[in-house]
């Protein structure tokens, strides 16, 4: 399709949606506040709008291709849960409805909380955080409130994390007003205990850490970390972004953590929507429960009610959260059961190690911490540094070119790039071995191409909807435009 931008489509007078006409509605608006000029929106018929967006959908590869996007745990979203949650019985619920009218939904939310408590050992969860980063922010806010409640407001100002943590951990900590201490990695792929010991102090508010990190490396001293931080008076928060590789194998509370976070849109089979609505389910120990933002679903005999949070509990978002997504996660976890979760973990780690074995046989491909023995967990951080040095073809080039074969992005690495020319595929449990083999074959083919004909790779993709972007500095205010109007203005001036 060669689909124009909607702003240029249509013709004056076309309508995609009519409403019953009323006389004089606008006269209810004070004259000074009436809109003077109609908005510069396009005018299209309903079928034209539908077809336009259907075409755009077909121009989005997504999960119709193969996506092993690392750190995001690409999963199948079972359509039963998706379709159920889409029904009016969920979609048509107002968040302020009286609990008596939404017992089915509350039962699912409560059931999901029970499942997460069982998997983490924590004492309570909130589903209010609307993504993993929001859960990290919740942790930062709760840390603030908790220390304040103990009279240490203004004193506990430092949050410790690792260079391998997701950027949202330091960023949310900073937004909540903390100073961030970032620990570098030691030779084994995780920070050294001594570095942590040096970092903690009476200013330590919390540790925010993931484990395994997105190199598939598990920090075996993590329990000691927790002890050190807690001894210093801080809280320990487990960012379970990479839970898929360890679910049912370990529990955050058992390791001493005060709080943890699960991403229902990653680990728990809920659709990602191209970046939300999502859920970062945040759970904590009994000690922190008073700071969990409400309302929360509680069971009272044979029914469910809502309980407001305390005034000290920091709300990060209106209402209870993306409950339709929680409902889907509940459906998923009920379908999986403990055995299913354990098996998913097994399969994702098994398949990752299979991938690792095959990828390391590809010329120019290495892995991080090559000398660290043992099996990685559900991801491995690879590097195309050698390929880049030998051919000038970057990991990004390879990623773009792979699109020509129906393979979507593999993910490089979060900032900063500790490993040069990084790439991070995550196999997960949903893709068949055939898919993964095809994926590796394509990568090997593109790498081979890079050695034979680097331009072919660098100028890719060739047969996708559009070719690669022209080199333009979108950060230049005279160029970058987030709206059609800005674009037109800047183009006219240019």
């Amino acid at each position: 399709w060669d689909e124009p931008i909607i702003m240029e489509m249509g013709a004056p007078g076309r309508r995609g949606q009519h409403f019953p006409r009323v006389e004089g509605g606008a006269s209810r608006v004070p004259a000074a506040l009436r809109r003077a000029n109609p908005p510069a929106l396009p005018e299209n018929s309903e079928p034209d709008v539908l077809r336009h967006y259907l075409r755009l959908s077909q121009e989005t590869m997504g999960m119709i291709g193969i996506s092993l996007f690392g750190t995001c745990t690409m999963k199948y979203n079972p359509r039963r849960g998706e379709q159920s949650a889409m029904r009016r019985e969920i979609a048509g619920v107002h968040p302020a409805q009286h609990p008596d009218t939404i017992q089915g939904l509350l039962a699912a939310v409560h059931g999901m909380e029970e499942a997460l408590r069982a998997l983490s050992g924590m004492d309570g969860f909130t589903f209010q955080p609307a993504g993993g980063a929001d859960a990290a922010y919740t942790q930062a806010c709760i840390t603030r409130a908790w220390h304040a409640s103990r009279g240490e407001a203004g004193q506990r100002t430092e949050i410790i994390t690792s260079i391998q943590s997701h950027p949202c951990n330091p960023a949310t900590a900073a937004t909540a007003g903390f100073d961030v201490i970032t620990l570098p990695l030691g030779p084994n792929g995780y920070p050294e205990l001594d570095a942590l010991r040096a970092a903690v102090s009476s200013k330590t508010a919390a540790l925010m850490i993931n484990n395994p990190d997105d190199m598939g490396v598990y920090n075996p001293e993590i329990d000691e970390w927790v002890r050190i931080v807690k001894a210093a008076g801080g809280l320990a928060f487990y960012d379970h972004a990479n839970f898929n590789g360890v679910m049912t194998k370990i529990r955050a509370r058992d390791l001493g953590f005060d709080a943890c976070m699960f991403m229902l849109h990653k680990t728990f089979g809920v659709s990602k929507g191209g970046g939300g609505p999502a859920v970062g389910a945040y759970g904590c120990s009994a000690e922190l429960l008073p700071f969990l933002p409400g309302p929360r679903v509680v069971r009272a005999e044979d029914r469910f009610t809502l309980e407001d949070g305390s005034v000290d509990a920091p709300k990060v978002r209106e209402y209870l959260g993306n409950l339709h997504q929680v409902f889907k996660a509940y459906a998923w976890v009920r379908a999986m059961g403990v055995e299913g979760l354990s098996e998913a973990s097994d399969m994702s780690v098994l398949l990752n190690n299979y991938m690792e074995k095959r990828l390391l046989e590809v010329r120019g491909v290495t892995r991080s911490h090559p000398d660290m023995p043992g099996w990685r967990l559900e991801m491995t951080r690879f590097s195309m540094e050698k390929l880049f040095e030998e051919t000038g073809v970057s990991a990004l080039d390879v990623q773009n070119r792979m699109g020509d074969f129906g393979i979507d992005a593999f993910w490089l690495s979060h900032e900063p790039w500790i490993v040069p020319q990084p790439f991070t595929p995550e196999a997960g449990e949903m893709w068949s071995r055939e898919d993964v083999d095809y994926w590796i074959d394509v990568l090997a083919h593109v790498v081979d191409e890079a050695y034979r004909d680097p331009e072919m790779v660098k100028t890719g993709p060739h047969n996708q909807v559009v070719k690669p972007l022209a080199p333009r500095n979108l950060d230049d205010p005279a160029i970058g435009s987030t709206t059609w109007a800005a674009h037109q203005r800047k183009n006219a001036r240019a």
Partner: protein, 454 residues
């Protein structure tokens, strides 16, 4: 799981040279490992069992959409065109995460069409990708303002949505001394509209931003927007306005009255309520680097390919938390991007005429409802119009909870409790009237209230 058949599993283990999957977890110290069985509800491993269970749960819900509901105040039941549902449920949009500019081309275009159309409604040329909610957008906007002018006090309306206000407070608080933003309030009338004279007195040159809403939480149309913007600008503060975009076919756009930053909800643009899961927020401003440089959201810019075709790419990625970790502007992450696609479809369906019509219809419905309710003994409503779709209804001689319960038995969901916000009206409920209500539903409400309050 396709590879969990005994044969496939054995093949894979053989290929990597491991004996068991258990061996693959060797990195984890033994004493970290959980050895006690996890207790969970029984597994429903067949779809037919799962469907039966889920259907049973759904049957226990009486959603607002199937009752006669007047709940609003931050999440509203508006008409969702069927075409929006079809598009947001397309597998291509529903299930993926992220790709390349080529593989995500269609979705990036849909996002750009979201920001472009929303910009047209707002008359603002800079629009970020969405954030979680109106409250989160307001929080970010006030932080942007504080970064812009280095001040640490903001003025917000005294009668603001409690949910939204709580979020805003979280965003303004800080662990570090002197880093927080102090939230101060200015008085409002019973429809939530600013007491402009009082506001003028409160505004001084320590104020980073004046935040106001139009329509206000209690429904009032803020007809003195120009004065409020002037007050803010007079003291060098940013004028930040929160708007409901479905009103913008009939109400003046933030860009038209000089607001610096506009925030608001996108839920009213064709997104189901989803028990609160339909929320989404936006941040917009004039397209000036002063503002652009402070956005925490991802920014999707139009650009071109090597062969000169339209394409889309991220701009100012470095200032996001993805680009700069704790040095970035606040933080971002998974957001409500699917709803951006839905809202884009919605705006494309309505066009200028649709927004005008729906705005006029809502105004007509709400004002005629106020007239109907005004005639009921024991009910007070604002005397002088001036609201958009919400307005407070006061039960003069009954408490909120009992009226609310009585309505519920009649299959009606009355307005939300705003008694705490309006000490003058302890039994006040904020009712919302939209294009989904017809005369019959308003009349059903009237009859029910008459009976209950008789």
């Amino acid at each position: 799981m396709p590879n969990s058949t005994a044969e496939q599993r054995a093949d894979l283990l053989r290929a990597i040279g491991a004996d068991t999957t258990e061996a693959l977890f060797g990195q984890i110290p033994d004493y970290h490992r959980l050895r006690t069985p996890i207790e969970m509800a029984p597994t429903l491993s067949s779809e037919v069992e799962l469907a039966r269970h889920l259907d049973g749960l759904l049957a226990q819900n009486r959603p607002a959409a199937s009752m006669t509901s007047f709940l609003g105040g931050g999440c509203w039941q508006h008409h969702v065109p069927a075409v929006v549902d079809e598009i947001v449920n397309r597998a291509e949009f529903l299930t993926p995460v992220w790709g390349t500019p080529s593989s995500d081309f269609g979705r990036n275009q849909a996002w750009f069409e979201f920001t472009s159309q929303l910009g047209a409604l707002l008359e603002l040329e800079m629009v970020g990708l969405p954030v979680y909610s109106w409250g989160c957008a307001a929080g970010h906007a006030l932080r942007m303002a504080a970064r812009l002018n280095g001040r640490r006090r903001v003025l917000v309306p005294a009668r603001m949505c409690p949910e939204r206000r709580a979020v805003l407070h979280s965003y303004c608080a800080s662990a570090g001394a002197d880093r927080g933003i102090v939230v101060e309030t200015y008085p409002c009338d019973l429809l939530g509209r600013a007491d402009v004279d009082a506001l003028r007195t409160l505004a001084d040159d320590g104020i980073a931003a004046v935040y106001f809403e139009n329509p206000a939480f209690l429904g009032g149309l803020e007809h003195r927007v120009a004065d409020i913007v002037d007050i803010a600008h007079a003291v060098g503060a940013e004028a930040v306005v929160g708007v409901d975009p479905i009103s913008l076919g009939v109400i003046a756009a933030p860009g038209a009255y000089g607001a610096d930053i506009a925030v608001g909800t996108i839920q009213t643009l064709g997104i189901h309520m989803h028990a609160g899961g339909g929320l989404g927020g936006f941040i917009a401003s004039r397209d000036e680097e002063r503002y652009t440089a402070e956005y925490p959201t991802l920014l999707n810019s139009i650009t071109e390919t090597v062969d000169g075709k339209m394409a889309f790419g991220m701009m100012r990625f470095h200032q996001s938390s993805y680009g700069s970790r704790e040095e970035g502007k606040d933080w971002t992450g998974n957001s409500t991007y699917l709803w951006a696609v839905g809202a884009s479809v919605y705006m494309a369906l309505l066009g200028p005429a649709g927004f005008r019509e729906v705005g006029e219809l809502i105004l007509d419905r709400s004002h005629r409802a106020a007239e109907r309710l005004a005639g009921i003994a024991g009910v007070s409503v604002p005397e002088t119009g001036g609201f958009f779709k919400d307005f407070p209804v006061s039960y003069d001689r009954a408490d909120f909870a009992s009226v609310d319960a009585a309505l519920r038995t009649r299959n009606i969901l009355g307005g939300i409790d705003v008694g705490k916000l309006c000490p003058e009206l302890p039994s006040a409920a904020l009712y919302a009237f939209t294009e989904i209500h017809d005369d019959a539903s308003v009349d059903a409400l009237g009859v029910a209230l008459q009976e209950i309050l008789a």
